[in-house]
C-alpha cells in the first residue's frame, strides 16, 4: 500500500499515517475488529449447540460418548503449544531474530499439522462408523436415540469450520515464514507476524471452548 520494504525491518510507513507506530496500531485495531466478526460467526454455531443441549440433553450426553476425549485432549495440548511457539515467533520478530522467527513458525506449522492429522483420524473413524450428520447417521448402537444426527451435524460443522481456520492459518504461517527468511521483520516492522499471531491465538481460543463442549459433556 504505497510502502516499501528494505532490509531488517526498515520500512517506510504508508503516507496516510503519521508514523510507523500509528500504522501498526491501526492494523492491530483492524485485526481485533476482524476477530469480533469471527466471534459473531462462531456464536451462531455455539448457539446451535446450546439449543441442542437445552432441548435434547440425553441425546447430547449419549452422542458425545462416541467422541474420543483423548484425541480431543491431545489436540488441545498441541494447539496450546502452537500458541506458545507463535508467541515466541512474535517476540523473536520484535527482537529482529529472523532465524528464530522462522524456527518458531515452523514449530507452529508442525503443531498445526499434527492437529489436522488427529482431526483426519477422528473424521475417518466417524465416517467409517456412520457417525454422520442428520439423516446420514447410521451408527447402529445409537439409532434409537432421537435426533442424534443433529449432534453430529453440529460436531462436523463446528470442528470443520475450526479446522478450515487451522488450514488457512497454516497457509499464512508459510507465507510469513518466507517473508521472515527474507529478513523483512525487525523491531521497527513486525506487523504481519503480530497479526498472524492474533489470528492464530484466536483459533486456539475457539478450540479451548470446543474441547470441553463437544468431548467432555457430562
Amino acid at each position: 500500500m504505497g510502502s516499501t520494504t528494505s532490509v531488517a525491518g526498515q520500512r517506510q510507513h504508508a503516507h496516510h499515517f503519521k508514523n510507523g507506530r500509528e500504522e501498526f496500531e491501526a492494523c492491530k485495531q483492524g485485526m481485533w475488529i476482524f476477530l469480533v466478526t469471527e466471534v459473531l460467526f462462531f456464536s451462531g454455531l455455539f448457539l446451535a449447540y446450546a439449543i441442542l443441549r437445552v432441548f435434547y440433553p440425553e441425546m447430547v450426553a449419549a452422542a458425545h460418548h462416541e467422541l474420543d476425549w483423548k484425541m480431543g485432549g491431545l489436540n488441545t495440548v498441541v494447539l496450546l503449544i502452537s500458541s506458545w511457539t507463535m508467541a515466541r515467533a512474535v517476540s523473536a520478530a520484535q527482537r529482529g531474530q529472523a532465524q528464530k522467527v522462522v524456527s518458531f513458525l515452523l514449530a507452529t506449522f508442525i503443531c498445526a499439522g499434527i492437529f489436522m492429522c488427529v482431526k483426519y483420524m477422528e473424521y475417518s473413524h466417524k465416517i467409517h462408523e456412520g457417525l454422520l450428520p442428520g439423516s446420514l447417521f447410521s451408527f447402529k448402537d445409537l439409532l434409537s436415540v432421537d435426533k442424534v444426527g443433529l449432534f453430529f451435524s453440529v460436531y462436523f460443522v463446528m470442528t470443520g469450520i475450526h479446522g478450515l481456520h487451522v488450514l488457512i492459518g497454516m497457509g499464512l504461517i508459510l507465507w510469513i515464514m518466507k517473508r521472515a527468511s527474507r529478513n523483512e521483520f525487525g523491531p521497527n516492522y513486525f506487523t504481519p507476524v503480530e497479526m498472524l499471531g492474533l489470528y492464530w491465538h484466536f483459533v486456539d481460543l475457539v478450540w479451548i471452548y470446543l474441547f470441553p463442549l463437544l468431548y467432555l459433556v457430562s
Partner: protein, 260 residues
Amino acid sequence: MSHHDHHEGHHHVLSDSTALKTILALLSLTVITVAIARVDLGVLNFPVAMFVASVKAVIVCSIFMGLKYENRENTVIFSTSLLFMLIFFILTFGDLLTRGDVYVKGQIIPAELQAAGPSKFSKPWIESPEIIAHGKGLFAAQCTSCHGDGGAGNGPAAAGLNPKPRNFTVGEGWKNGRKGSQIFGTLTKGLNTMPAFGSLPSEDRWALAHYVRTLGPHSAEKDSDADLAKVGVDPNQEGGGGSAEKSIPLEAAIEILSES
C-alpha cells in the same frame, strides 16, 4: 521526529520466561479440565468446565494476544463481541423457551378445566342444549386454532398440518365416523395430526363431540348401547367414560407442529 523514534521502546516484547509460565499454566488448566470431567459434580460440571475454559481464554487474550500490555481500546472492541453474543443467546432462548403457549395454543389444557369440578352433566353422552352450549365454549378455547372459528378446518395453524384438520361443516369423510361416541373416541385418542385430548374431563369431551356434530348437516345417527360400551360408558350409570388422564399431550403436539 522520524518513525524510528516512535517505534523503539514502545512495543511490549513478551519475555521468554513469561511465555513459558503462560503455556505451563494453560497446560495445567487443560489437565484440570479433563480431570474434573471425570468427577461427577452433578449440575456443577458444566459451569466449572466453562469457567476453566474462560480462565484459559482470558490468559490467551491478555498475555499471548497482548491485551494486558496495551491501552484498553482493543479490549473494549473485543468485549463488544461477547456482549452481542449474549444478546443473541438471550433473544433466541427468550423465543424458543416461551414458544409453547404460542404454537401449541389449543393443545394446552387450562388448569381450571383440568381440575375436575362437580359434574354438571350426570349422563354427558346424552345430547342437550346445555351440553352443546358448554361444548361451544370449549371449542372456542381449544379447537379453533386448527379447526377454525366455524369448524371448517381452516384455523391459523391448519396451514402447517398434513393431513389437514377435519372440516366439521360437511357430513362426509369422517375417518372414525360422526356419531357422538366416535368423535368422543377421536378426542380421547387423537388421530393423525390431531393430538389426544384425553386429559380433558370426559364430560368436556362429550360436550365437544355434541357441539361438533351441530356444525355440519343434521345427523340422525345415534349412539347405541354397544357404541357407548366401546368408549367405556355404561348407559345405566352416571359418569362419562372414565376419568381424565393426567398427562397433557403437549409433547405430542410440539412433535406434530415441529415436523410440519
